[in-house]
Amino acid sequence: MTSSLALDWSEPLVAGEVVLDDRVAPNASWSAVVRAGHVLTIVDVGGNQSGDCLLYNAADTEERYSVPDTLAWQGNAYVRTGTVLRSNLGNPLMTVVGNEIDRQDTIGGACSKESNTLRYGHHVMFHHGCRENFLSEGAKHGLGLRDLVSNLNWFMNVPVEADGALGIVDGMSAPGKRVAVRAETDVLVLVSNCPQMNNPCNDFNPTPLRMIVVRP
């Protein structure tokens, strides 16, 4: 359960001209439009830090990331290299073009003050949560609660066991591990650097993320 204090800021997973290079503090939110063809590398700087993520068609946010469409089209519950991240219309928004951990999660959803009361008790209602981050970051783009749907969780580990048992367990990532996603159209990316302190999705120790966009 002890987490390494080492930080590895790493480098883009795909070579190209860097057009954006941001550091996201622990517990904070981030957003940017990634232009079609550009590749976003997300660096798990401190290791096992969940980056909760939502995607929208930047030209029409009513078209947005869809967990069921992504999973049904690929016939598999896990996100890996080659997974096409699809919209609620079935269209490709982004494609995973590089991934340094076994699998990425998109079934565990986002933490929230409200669901925290179910999972851990009402005494944690005051904690920060990813849903809070999505709301404050989304508001910058005219997005509200109606626009929050099931999301991706970069670097989070949510296995489905044979009997259907499902849950967030110890991560498989490490400092400096990366995932890279290529935009298939202009995509608005919202990220919550997960502040959860009650389960292993951040190794009980929120750390920074690095977001690098390159034009290959």
Partner: protein, 272 residues
């Protein structure tokens, strides 16, 4: 003869009083398929293959879906009818109970830490909380036709219309759950098709808050059959009591207990 208003009226009126295989029954209690032991129904309908329905229901309503042929697939989205921004959250619905496969006792949770509905009866056990419903892109590819008015409409197209009839927009459609056609997840994450449990199964939901229910009856996206195969879906509802402290499921797990506490807290504050 429809050459005058009077004749057109007579012609139209002569069409009344007939029945079809798929129709709502009014009053609901007159349904030819009234569930045994239930006296007063508040909703009774047979949904056509490729059809949809929707209803606003009181807190404490018990909703029964029947699959008479084994080929129905009930895609369902539920909302808090009083604040539709509170809606089915499938991630929380599988994460909070630590269980991806739906069955009796499973709560359908909103993103607000409350139970919108509880699955209180299930003789099928073949359901899916992963794959959602079909899109026009999917049905166009699979069936060669996805027009909403055509022979193989997508579930999403039907949800768009059902939602619109309650003032909701496409952005108000979260991922849906489906009943009567099941999948499993293998060790590698791949979906394994289970399909139907056979004809004559039912699923019962209990409305824990005032509910807006949207239902689309279309083939499951992973249905391996090349044709658009879907059977009729029967829906019946009646007044009952929401889950309370006297029910075993109220404290069946700590997560469910707090979810019901949150739900009752909301209902009490609203004077429900």
């Amino acid at each position: 003869m429809t050459d005058s208003v009077l004749n057109a009226r007579a012609d139209a009126r002569a069409r009344g009083g007939q029945t079809s295989e798929w129709m709502p029954y009014l009053p609901a209690s007159s349904s030819p398929y009234r569930p045994p032991g239930v006296e007063a129904l508040t909703w009774a309908e047979t949904v056509a293959p490729g059809g949809y329905t929707h209803k606003v229901l009181a807190r404490g309503t018990r909703i029964r879906f029947d699959d008479p042929t084994g080929d129905a697939c009930a895609h369902v989205i539920v909302y808090n009818a009083l604040e539709t921004v509170e809606r089915l959250n499938l991630a929380d619905t599988v994460k909070i109970p630590w269980q991806a496969y739906l069955g009796a006792g499973h709560p359908l949770l909103s993103g607000d830490g409350r139970v919108l509905a509880t699955i209180v009866g299930d003789t099928s056990g073949h359901h899916d909380a992963f794959c959602g419903t079909t899109t026009e892109a999917w049905n166009q590819r699979k069936y060669g036709d996805a027009r909403p008015e055509g022979p193989s409409p997508a579930g999403r197209s039907l949800f768009v219309k059902a939602a619109a009839k309650h003032g909701l927009a496409p952005r108000d459609l979260p991922p849906s759950v489906s009943f009567f056609q099941g999948i499993r997840v293998d060790a590698d994450g791949a979906f394994v098709w289970r399909g139907s449990a056979g004809e004559g199964t039912s699923v019962e939901l209990l409305a824990e808050l005032p509910l807006l229910v949207l239902v689309a009856n279309v083939p499951h996206p992973l249905d391996p059959r090349a044709d658009y195969v879907v059977g009729p879906l029967r829906v019946h509802a009646w007044r009952a009591a929401p889950t309370g402290p006297d029910d075993d499921r109220f404290q069946a797990t700590p997560e469910a207990h707090r979810a019901y506490l949150n739900t009752i807290d909301y209902a009490e504050a609203r004077g429900l």
